[in-house]
């Protein structure tokens, strides 16, 4: 177990090096010059050259890459081209908001997703199952910004139950205020994951219900509820956990659309701003942080298999 863990953690190094190279190349080779974007209509050739030199963009690309990686090894993610602030601070500031949104949406999508999936599996072939299938397909296919706007129009504009957007009231607010503002974006963000989890739970539970050990459990007279929760669901959950892990990893990278619609100050909006402005160090640093988290979350998921399913052992 420990050796497995160490091996997986060591694998992080080449993986992140690869990620760093890819992000660096994508950012630097795609057309668009941060100096030109910053200067706008004042972008005379002389001003652009001066600014590029100040920003450290005048060096050849390989030199820039080596300098950047050298700094990262020393724990320095560099400074944003636009704000001149340390990238680490920028990312950290936004990360809390993204983490909160992600945690809330997982709290909604996982229990409801599993519940709907199990309900569909138990009632398979009935009108309820068909209705749930339709609902989950809608959840998967409807664009999340549309869901967000519909929720906003319904629950904020017409019913007035929740604030339309932001993380707190305009002047700032208490924790209760934050939770109140969290509801609509969290539900929006949860919708597609919830639907996917429901679909997968349904499929894997239907499969599990057809297994011999489930039949045996029923045969020895165990109550249906117990068979469902103790026997069928436990095995049915393995693929669900994989999906949840992937979703969480993705969400941590910032739910770009949801964050934009709800003016949620998370990593997604930061990354979009960075990409549009060609803020190279900001995007590179943020992507590295996100990639690391993604890998760690997936490692956690792999480890949790052993916890859920005693047949899995990591050697």
């Amino acid at each position: 177990m420990r050796r497995y863990l160490i091996r997986r953690l060591l694998l992080l190094v080449p993986l992140l090096l690869g990620v760093s190279l890819v992000v660096f190349l994508i950012m630097h080779l795609s057309p668009g010059d941060p100096a030109v974007l910053m200067l706008g209509q004042d972008a005379t050739p002389a001003a652009v050259a001066k600014l590029r030199a100040e920003l450290g963009l005048a060096d050849p690309l390989p030199v820039q890459y080596v300098k950047w990686v050298g700094r990262i090894v020393r724990g320095d993610l560099g400074r944003s081209l636009w704000t001149s602030r340390p990238v680490f601070d920028e990312v950290l500031e936004r990360f809390l908001a993204t983490l909160l949104l992600t945690a809330a949406s997982v709290c909604i999508s996982v229990p409801f997703g599993i519940a709907l999936g199990v309900a569909g599996a138990v009632a398979r072939g009935t009108a309820l199952d068909a209705g749930l299938t339709l609902l989950t397909i809608a959840g998967i296919s409807l664009p999340v910004f549309w869901i967000g706007l519909v929720l906003m129009v319904t629950f904020s504009l017409h019913l007035g139950w929740f604030p339309a957007l932001g993380m707190t009231s305009p002047a700032g607010g208490t924790s209760a205020d934050v939770l109140y503002h969290l509801v609509l974006p969290a539900v929006t963000l949860a919708a597609p994951s919830l639907a996917i989890i429901a679909r997968i739970t349904r499929t894997s539970t239907v499969e599990a219900l057809a297994q011999d050990y489930v039949r045996t459990a029923f045969a020895k007279g165990l109550p249906g509820r117990r068979v469902m929760l103790k026997h069928a669901l436990n095995n049915g959950l393995i693929p669900v956990i994989t999906v949840v892990g992937l979703q969480v990893g993705q969400l941590l990278g910032g739910a770009v659309l949801t964050e934009t619609v709800f003016a949620w100050p998370g990593l997604g909006t930061l990354l979009v701003r960075g990409i549009l402005a060609r803020d190279f160090p900001l995007v590179q640093g943020a992507v590295l942080v996100v990639a690391t988290l993604f890998v760690l979350v997936n490692l956690l998921v792999d480890l949790s298999y052993a916890y859920i399913d005693p047949r899995v052992h990591h050697v």
Partner: protein, 525 residues
């Protein structure tokens, strides 16, 4: 399993606790909340580059001179009056007395000189803590700044420079020297000026909170607190306004204008903007576009009125040239320039004359979105249909805004849609960059003259306007330039965007400015 939920719940709760912060004491009172399309980046005026940052910063600062609300006319601000030396080499400003910065330090010639010197003088010990692009561009003609007397400031120029006051109003805001020394690099996030509102706190991505400056020299504002909140999504911003979460928004989509005007609780303010939306023709790449008859034909082919009325729902003014009427007295009116009325028959005749009776093919490049681009794809689609009606087959090619800048500055297109916002009352910035022959764009020399316009007389006139201090003569020179430009027909000047903001009716006395929302004059119920 149950344990897991407990853990998740705990995480959620602790995150919410960390994210929330109790309201600071005394934050109540008359508050106005404003929804802005993006977050701020820098709040130190001389370092501000984007129009968005200006909106966040400028309610906290004053310049020596300022733009009158609703126009670009220069008015006294921290300087009560000024004199220009006969040779045009220096400006002497007589400063307002009794003004203090928000940190309590006095404003005088010494302070103003230090604040400006920090920007233009690389030797100033605090110059290295900021990035001052305008020091070499807009303010590049300033040689030195000196305090002649306690309340007399002199700006010495390298050469006579007509746009100086315009640029001082736009980019010469005075920052507290004490704050500059105290905050060093962090001055970018700790603005201290003399303006109507004082900085309270800035939570990036969430809000910028300001409170009124009770000692403001024009008199204190009637509102006690001003909060600017970034809200990138247009529809969400509208909902926030309608639910009362914010009092004021910018960036109203044309399609929602009619709805907003019907809402009894809301008011809409409209004003001219200094922007122009245009299609430029590269006269050096596609043979037909090198022929002035063809270019005039294309000008006659496009129905600008229909674009403004149907696509933009009236949120624009049909253009006759590059300068918005807001740039009076320099902007040419229809009388001063060659106007191409919508006339497809005339267009076909001109094309036939030029030998293109059967039309020709071209590519029309257009960005998906971008600063001042209004509704680029819909507008370009109408232009495409208009051109097709006279036999010119245009293929639309769209770009992301950042990538599009390269296309623009290297002239890599047949025809391309762009916009230009002249942030000051002086047309030099657009006309010189787009029409002086030395500004022709290429991969080796990226610049803005991407129609490859070249006319020695225009060059001479443009150079003359920079040093001519007689306004009447400058106006005549600029009109002559605009006439030449429209004669050459190498641009389709489509429209000037309307500046559009919407607010709750509890906001009173708001006066619109083309680019910045000033809240000093505002009162609220």
């Amino acid at each position: 399993m149950r344990q897991m939920w407990r853990v998740l719940g705990l995480i959620l709760l602790s995150l919410a606790v960390a994210a929330g912060a109790p309201l600071p004491a005394g934050a109540a009172g008359k508050t106005v909340v404003v929804g802005i399309t993006a977050d701020a980046v820098i709040l130190d005026p001389p370092q501000v580059l984007s129009a968005t940052d200006r909106k966040y910063a400028m309610n906290m600062f004053d310049g020596l001179v300022e733009q009158e609300l609703g126009s670009f006319k220069i008015a006294p601000a921290l300087a009560e009056r000024w004199e220009v030396a006969k040779d045009g080499h220096s400006y002497t400003f007589h400063l307002r007395k009794g003004v203090t910065f928000h940190d309590g330090t006095p404003f005088d010639a010494e302070a103003a000189a230090f604040s400006l010197d920090r920007v233009i003088n690389p030797e100033n010990p605090y110059n290295k803590f900021g990035r001052f692009i305008y020091a070499t561009t807009r303010l590049g003609q300033i040689k030195s700044v000196e305090a002649v007397d306690k309340y007399v400031l002199r700006i010495n120029l390298k050469a006579p420079y007509a746009p100086l006051l315009d640029y001082l109003a736009n980019d010469g805001h005075i920052v507290s020297p004490a704050a500059i020394k105290k905050h060093e690099k962090e001055i970018a996030a700790n603005p201290v000026g003399t303006g109507p509102f004082k900085f309270v706190r800035w939570e990036r991505g969430k809000r910028l909170v300001m409170e009124r400056n009770p000692n403001y020299w024009k008199g204190p504002s009637k509102i006690e607190q001003l909060i600017l909140v970034p809200m990138p999504e247009a529809q969400a911003r509208l909902i926030a306004l309608r639910t009362g979460q914010v009092d004021f928004i910018e960036g109203v989509p044309p399609d929602n204008l009619a709805d907003l005007k019907r809402d009894a609780n809301l008011a809409v303010a409209e004003g001219l903007s200094p922007q122009v939306w245009y299609v430029v023709m590269n006269t050096k790449r596609l043979k037909p576009l090198g022929d002035v008859r063809v270019r005039r034909a294309l000008n006659h082919a496009v129905n600008k009125e229909a674009i403004v009325k149907d696509v933009l729902k009236g949120t624009g003014t049909v253009a006759v040239g590059p300068l918005s009427p807001l740039l009076a007295p320099y902007a040419a009116s229809a009388r001063d320039v060659t106007v191409y009325e919508y006339d497809p028959e005339k267009a076909k005749k001109l094309l036939a004359e030029a030998g293109y009776a059967g039309g020709f093919d071209l590519t029309l490049s257009v960005p998906e979105s971008g600063t001042g681009m209004q509704s680029p794809l819909s507008m370009a689609t109408v232009i495409q249909a208009n051109l097709a009606a006279v036999g010119v087959r245009a293929k639309l090619q769209n770009y992301e805004w950042g990538a599009y800048q390269k296309v623009r500055r290297e002239g890599d297109f047949d025809m391309a849609a762009f916009s230009w916002t002249v942030g000051i009352g002086n047309p030099d910035i657009i006309l010189y960059a787009k029409f002086h022959s030395t500004e022709q764009a290429s991969a080796q020399h990226p610049s803005y003259n991407n129609s490859y316009f070249a006319d020695p007389e225009v060059d001479k006139a443009l150079e003359q306007t920079r040093i001519e201090l007689d306004e009447a003569k400058r106006v005549a020179l600029y009109k002559q330039v605009q006439k030449k430009i429209t004669d050459s027909a190498d641009h389709l000047w489509i429209d000037h965007e309307t500046t559009l903001v919407a607010m709750n009716k509890r906001i009173r006395n708001f006066k619109i400015h083309p680019q910045i929302h000033y809240f000093w004059s505002v009162d609220a119920n």
